[in-house]
Assembly symmetry: C2
Homo-oligomer: 300 residues x 2
């Protein structure tokens, strides 16, 4: 069943303890779409500027991403973000943010996107996420991501969105901030009282768990031995997760559990390279191979 | 099959953000034995002083711990340790250490302990651990714990011990210190080149994994919603792990994987109270019930 993703495309400048990239392809919807593409052709909604490179359009199109919803804003400039990671990977400093075309981003879904059944609202202002979601006629499974900034400055919009979505994806820090609960299990339980039927809580290198409607499933991360750049890992997790659900055509507890493994696999490829240098090359055969490895590691 | 544990007994003074205990029953071998007792009567080897309380002997005996190897040093004083946890639980400050009888601890195994098949060398100086292990005639599965202090000041003794044991249990910080590898998978791989056939790497609230001889199995922690005191969690993990193996009578990959769940269950009860206030009350029925809960959470 079709899968639409609404979110950002960016040019990122990323610095790690070992290497760096300037103006590398990034953005929440971009990472999601590249990660989901081996499962199903994702329908991408986002905005870029005049400076958007044709080669990036080609990369996404070749990957199987549907770009009918990619708006090129005349006279605008693509969103830019800069970040630097401490050697331990756990601390990320934002070195700059240029919103550019995101300042006025108003998602418009092409007519043929509106009957999508699976919807992912990648990280963006919750009012923008709501605006995107409202254009999908009858979604059967809608999931949103968010970030600390929106929990801080757009909490009312986020709370309204939480009434409309089926699932919310958060990392540990965001979950604590949203709920005021230090303990992640209690934090997840509290999120479930705020609207969503499911919550997926990501803990970076320590894995992730899903809770909701009688389901509680926890999974370690895939044991990557060399992290190159963690940027986009959460969006890639979501891409693998939603891509698998959309391909399965349902969100049964069995599907959601397996989708957690698929998300974990996608995130593990993402962190093995800057931008989509690694995951952008990965085929369904690669995904299947690592899925089987992960199954070995977590199966009794 | 019989299980012997060699290690410390202590009186701990522990302070958390919420509460405190003075001179509470503690020590690596004590926590291990209390955790393992529902599976099999552990044979305990350790030393205490004149100040050892009869009520603590009674508690351990009632729990089913064999105390023939508990040496009461005349004129000696029981090992004492003080610690304080930061509100996030991740940082522990040692407030004081009084070695007392441990300064001259020379483990002597009663004759009927020497044919034990399962051996756990709880945290102690690696030369003391070696001395204990050498008295077991033909162990089929010996596992040791250690700590940063010994990696730092007794590395040669620890390296010698690693040639003699089947498995080593470490936490993430210890693994990094022992191997110089930041990445925990690479750290575990390196430990396996240093002697042990298996390494168990504990990540506190983030779970644990075991690697070795074609086995790689990873598990999240049990989702405890209220931590009271993490002291002894690692020793309790080891107690549940080794207790289950000893009861099963083997260390096949299937047994080791299930033992990881049993260790996780034991650790989860340990942290729910100061000292052994919670885990000391837990029966095999409690263990089984939580084991089944954990199975639900990790099974696809």
């Amino acid at each position: 069943m079709s899968l639409v993703v609404i979110g950002t495309l960016a040019y990122d400048s990323v610095e790690t303890a070992h290497d760096r990239r300037e103006n590398a392809l990034g953005g929440s919807a971009m990472y999601f779409a590249v990660a989901a593409a081996p499962y199903i052709s994702p329908l991408l909604v986002g905005a870029v500027g005049d400076d958007w490179r044709d080669e990036d359009t080609e990369l996404l199109a070749k990957r199987g991403v549907d770009l009918a919803g990619l708006e090129k804003v005349a006279g605008g400039k693509t969103f830019r973000w800069g970040g630097r990671y401490e050697p331990d990977w756990n601390t990320r400093h934002t070195t700059f943010t240029e919103l550019n075309v995101l300042e006025t981003f108003d998602p418009k879904l092409p007519a043929n996107y509106r009957d999508a059944k699976f919807v992912f609202l990648a990280n963006a202002h919750p009012a923008v996420q709501m605006q995107g979601l409202s254009q999908v006629e009858a979604p059967i499974f809608s999931v949103a991501d968010t970030m600390n900034l929106w929990i801080d400055i757009a909490r009312t919009d986020l709370e309204a969105l939480m009434q409309k979505i089926d699932g919310l994806i958060l990392n540990d820090e965001e979950a604590r901030m949203l709920t005021g609960e230090d303990n992640l299990i209690r934090a997840a339980q509290k999120v479930l009282t705020m609207g969503p039927k499911f919550v997926i809580l990501k803990k970076g290198e320590h894995g992730a768990f899903i809770m909701g409607e009688g389901l509680h499933f926890s999974l370690p991360a895939y044991p990557v031995t060399e992290v190159i750049d963690p940027t986009g890992a959460g969006d890639s997790f979501a891409g693998g997760f939603m891509g698998y659900c959309a391909k399965a055509g349902n969100h049964s507890p069995e599907t959601l559990k397996k989708a957690m493994l698929h998300g974990t696999v996608a995130a593990s490829y993402c962190v093995q390279g800057f931008s989509v240098e690694d995951i952008g090359q990965r085929t369904m055969a690669d995904y299947d191979s690592r899925y089987n490895d992960l199954m070995q590691i977590v199966s009794l």
